[in-house]
Each structure stands twice: as structure tokens, then as C-alpha cells.
Amino acid sequence: MTPSMRAVGPIVVFAAAAALVPLAVDSDAWLNFVVLALFGALMAQAWNVLAGFGGQFSFGHAVFFGTGAYAMAALQVRLGVNAWVALPVALAAGAAVGLFIGALTFRYGLRGSYFALATLAFAEIFRILANTFQFTGAGVGLQIPLAKGWAALQFEGRAGYLYVALAFVVAGLAIGTWLKHSRFGAWLQAVRDNEEAAQALGVDAYRVKLGAIAISGAMMAAAGAFYVQYLHYIDPALAFGPHYSVEALVGALVGGMGTVWGPVVGAFALHLLSDATRNAFGDVPGVSLMIYGALLVLIVMFAPRGLVGLFAALVSKLRDSK
């Protein structure tokens, strides 16, 4: 069995387990939790492709989220397009914005802090544009009319949304596995670890980074599109503000950058934590993000390889002591 075949097993188990949740669990709160955790996982996966595998740290990933969200919303509300048709367009828009930003930043060799800042600048520019034009509803934003039935990509109850989110996350896991076991993934990780050395070995670093940001953009746009269908509303601050940029980043970091399961583990851990704090401290705005920020600092200081890294270290310690 090849390594990539072995990797499929856990993905299938995870998918099956998650798919069974609506059948096993009645509580609306728990179903909502799983939906939101999967949504968080998708965003963390998206960020992980570019930063974990590609080494390019984006601090403004919301630029893709908002693109997907507004594409999804505007196509339905302004142009009457069916949600299922709008969805691939939203993903394509995310990829296109990724290529645009990548072409500008990578061509001019922006890396590290400069790249992070540039993504922030783009997110802000998009926010201002969304806030200005009537097509995107300006400051008021856009609202998707409620429609019954899956033909409009809306569902009664949470289960339908859970399956959609799950489908995306499974696709994300497949993409992560592909990155671990493919030529493109090997090239991407080489560029991350040492761009010059990779170039000397024949890797077209520019093309590879572009590919990564396009994939990452499309995945994040999927999250934005999902958000709009689930919550029926989007505005410039939600779409392009720092909240989802942070959630994507912290989720991937806490779970373990550059791994297949890190983003999923991290997102679920974060959501468990914020649920726990909500139970302990009530629904005070800012508490969960504050905890995310503190976690970010702590993980970087003490466990830079994230939860998956900690687990792997534990396993090898147990193995060594035998």
C-alpha cells in the first residue's frame, strides 16, 4: 500500500463519523458546533496550503473569504443566479484574486513580513471597495433571501449544512494529502524551506507559489460562500475584516502547520475552547478572540509545531522508551 493510500483510511473514518453526527445527536447546539467547527477547519486548511505548505504567511486571508462571500451573495441577489451555479464561480473568483495578488507580490519578490503586510493592505482595499459600491450593498451589505430546499443550497435544519461543510473539509483533507505525496507538493515545500536551493534543482518557484495561492484562495472563498448560505448575510466588515483572517491562521497554527490534519484538529480545538469559555464567561464579545490571540502567542513560544506536532513528539517518545 502506498503512503497516499494509507492516508485515505483516516479521512474515510473521519467523514463517516462526522456524517453520522446528525443521526446520533439531537441537540441543535451541538449540530451548530460541528457545522461551525467544520467551517473553521475549511478556513484553516485554506491558510495552511499557502502558509503551512508554502511558507507564505498571509495576514489578510479574509480577502479571499470576502471575495467568495460577495460573489456568492451578489450573484444570487443582484443577478438571480442559482446558488449551485454561483458556488463554482465564487471558488473561481477566490482563485482569481489569489492569482492577482500572487502575481503582484511574488513577481516583486515580496516575502515574509512584506508579504503579510501586503495581504493586509489588499484586504483593506477590498473592504473599502465593498463598502463603497451599491452592487455589493455598500455599508449595509447583502442579504440572501430565505429559500426552502437544497435547490437553492439552503436547508431546513443543520444537517444539510453539515454535509456541505463536511464535503469541503474532506476535499481539503484530500488536497492536503495530495500535497504530501505529489510532485507539486514536494516542490512547494522545497520552496518554503529554501527557495534558492529549490530553484537550483529546477523548481519554478514563482509558478509553484502562484498555484498554492490560487488553491488557497479558492478554498477560503468556499468558506465565504458557505458562510453566506448558512447565515444569509454579508457586509464589508464581516467579509474583509480581521476576524476570519485570524481564525484561519490560529486554527492552522494551533493544530500544526504543514500537516494534513493540523487545521482540522486546530479548528475543533479552538471551537471547543471558545464554547467552554462561553459557558464559563457568558457571551461577552471579544473573549474568544482574546483567547485565540493568547493561544497564538503560547503556541509559538512553547509548541511551534502545534497539537499535531505535540502528539507526534509524544508518540515518538513512547516508542523510544519501549
Binding site: 504567511f57 515574509g112 501586503a118 463603497t132 464579545p285 471579544g286 478572540l289 482574546m290 490571540g293 509559538v300
Partner: protein, 290 residues
């Protein structure tokens, strides 16, 4: 459209705002120049300082300008401890880690403020809040005019410290040559922390000048972060003169483009400039390092 009577007030106001931006950017430049870290927590730290000034005024009746005596040392101490205890420990030698840690600190500070003070926007009303002075035909709010003068004074003090004192010399040595500075016996960790402290002290001063003419809420820092970075990059990473002039320039650009494009769209001008500078002239207008 280019009537001086409309343009000049816009420029004058832009200069006053730009002076504040410059002071914020000076602190950032110092931190980048010495520690080579991009301090993502700079905006949040400014927000903390602004709340400090606001609380001193509303709880204890301390005039914002008198608050300089409290805020500058307090922010210095805060910065020193932050670098010494948190940021310095987290780097593990990798730049990306510092990026992430300062981001994390920013998130914690912002949301802590949200929890403690709610999202309400707060302002203060001082004796001079509503007064204006006539500057060659432009009516500038008195707090803004005071800010302009105050910032120039603070910048002069900062530059004097850097040029004349032992600490300033140590900082400059460390900025230029890390290993060499260690060999000469400079306590690197201490000087790093001092530099970070001074950088935040600039924010303490900036907050005292800024609040009377502005406002504070938990997210006010965000607006300053990108602007401050734009200035630092534009002026040349590590150049004080560049940060000062860059700040004034950006203030004017923001004001004038707001005049022609409207408040909202005018903001875009700054970010577009930022991207253009990053791409085409990353050493900035006065930069020394590539």
C-alpha cells in the same frame, strides 16, 4: 478644483494628522531598525495608550498633555517588559515567529479592550477641544495644532537621545552589527528591550497628542497599523528622517485624496501607495537597507 482656499486647509490638516502618524511611525522605525522585527502590535499598543489617556482624564481629571508625564514612562515600561518577557522569548531565531507573536499580542490587546471597555467609541472634551486657530487662512483645530508642535518636539528629543546618549549609541551599534555589539559588551537583551520600550513610549506621547483631536475604541489601532507601516516602508526602513517626512506626506495624501474621493474611497490611496512602494521601491524614499 485646485483652488488654494480649498486645498490649503486640507493640506494643513493633513500635515497635522501626518505629524501624529510620523510619531507613531518613528517608534515603529526604531523597533524595526534595531530588532529587525515588524511589530504588528504597534496599533494595538497605541490603542492601549489612548485608553490610558482617556481613563486618566475621565477618572482622575488629568489633562491629556499633563498625562505625558505618566503615559510616556508607563508605555516605556510596558514595551520593555513585553519585549523582555514575551517577544524575546518567542522568536527561537525565526522571523516568522516574531511576526506571529506580535500579531497574537495585538489580538489579545484589542479583544481585552473590547471585553473591558465594550466597542463604544469614546472621546474627551477638554477646554480646547472646540477651539480653532487660523493658520494662513486655514482653520485648524487647536488640539491638532498642538499635536503638530508636540510631535516635532518629541521627535527632536528622540533624535537627540539617539545621537547624544550612551543608550542611543548602544542602540545604533546594535542596529548595525549585532554580533559585534555583543563582543563589545553591550547587553543585547537589555538594549533590545530598551529599544522596544522607547518605541512604545513614542506611542504614549502620540496618544496624549492624538486623543483630544480624535477618539478611541478597541479597533482604532487597526487603522494606524497599515498607515504606520506604509510610512516606515515609504520613508525607508530604519530612517528617522524618512519616517518623519513620510508621515507628513501620508497625512497630506490622505487628506487631499479624501477631499477629492470622499472619506471612504480616499482611504484607498494610502494602501495603494503602500503596495506600490513595496513592489517598486522597497528601500523607500530615503532608505539605506534593501
Amino acid at each position: 478644483m485646485l483652488e488654494l482656499s480649498i486645498l490649503w486647509p486640507s493640506i494643513a490638516n493633513g500635515l497635522a494628522t501626518g505629524a501624529i502618524y510620523a510619531l507613531v511611525a518613528l517608534g515603529l522605525t526604531l523597533i524595526y531598525g534595531v530588532l529587525h522585527i515588524i511589530n504588528f502590535a504597534h496599533g494595538a499598543a497605541l490603542m492601549v495608550a489612548l485608553y490610558g489617556v482617556q481613563l486618566l482624564f475621565t477618572r482622575y481629571g488629568v489633562d491629556p498633555y499633563a498625562a505625558l508625564a505618566v503615559m510616556v514612562p508607563a508605555m516605556f515600561g510596558f514595551g520593555y517588559l513585553l519585549q523582555r518577557l514575551v517577544i524575546g522569548r518567542a522568536s527561537h531565531g525565526k522571523d516568522e515567529n516574531i511576526l506571529l507573536v506580535t500579531l497574537g499580542i495585538a489580538i489579545v490587546l484589542e479583544n481585552l479592550a473590547l471585553v473591558l471597555f465594550t466597542a463604544d467609541t469614546r472621546t474627551i472634551e477638554t477646554r480646547w477641544s472646540l477651539a480653532t486657530i487660523d493658520v494662513a487662512g486655514a482653520f485648524i483645530a487647536v488640539p491638532k495644532a498642538i499635536a503638530f508642535v508636540g510631535v516635532l518636539a518629541a521627535a527632536a528629543i528622540l533624535l537627540a537621545v539617539m545621537a547624544r546618549t550612551d543608550l542611543g549609541r548602544a542602540i545604533r551599534a546594535l542596529a548595525k552589527e549585532r554580533q559585534g555589539a555583543k563582543l563589545v559588551g553591550i547587553d543585547v537583551e537589555h538594549v533590545f528591550a530598551m529599544s522596544f520600550g522607547i518605541g512604545l513610549a513614542c506611542l504614549g506621547a502620540a496618544a496624549c497628542f492624538l486623543l483630544p483631536a480624535y477618539y478611541v475604541n478597541p479597533t482604532v489601532g487597526n487603522g494606524f497599523v497599515l498607515v504606520a507601516f506604509t510610512i516606515v516602508v515609504l520613508g525607508g526602513m530604519g530612517s528617522f528622517a524618512g519616517a518623519l517626512l513620510g508621515g507628513l506626506l501620508i497625512g497630506v495624501v490622505e487628506s487631499v485624496s479624501g477631499l477629492y474621493l470622499g472619506e471612504s474611497l480616499g482611504q484607498i490611496g494610502i494602501f495603494v501607495i503602500f503596495l506600490l512602494v513595496l513592489m517598486f521601491r522597497p528601500t523607500g524614499l530615503f532608505g539605506s537597507k534593501a
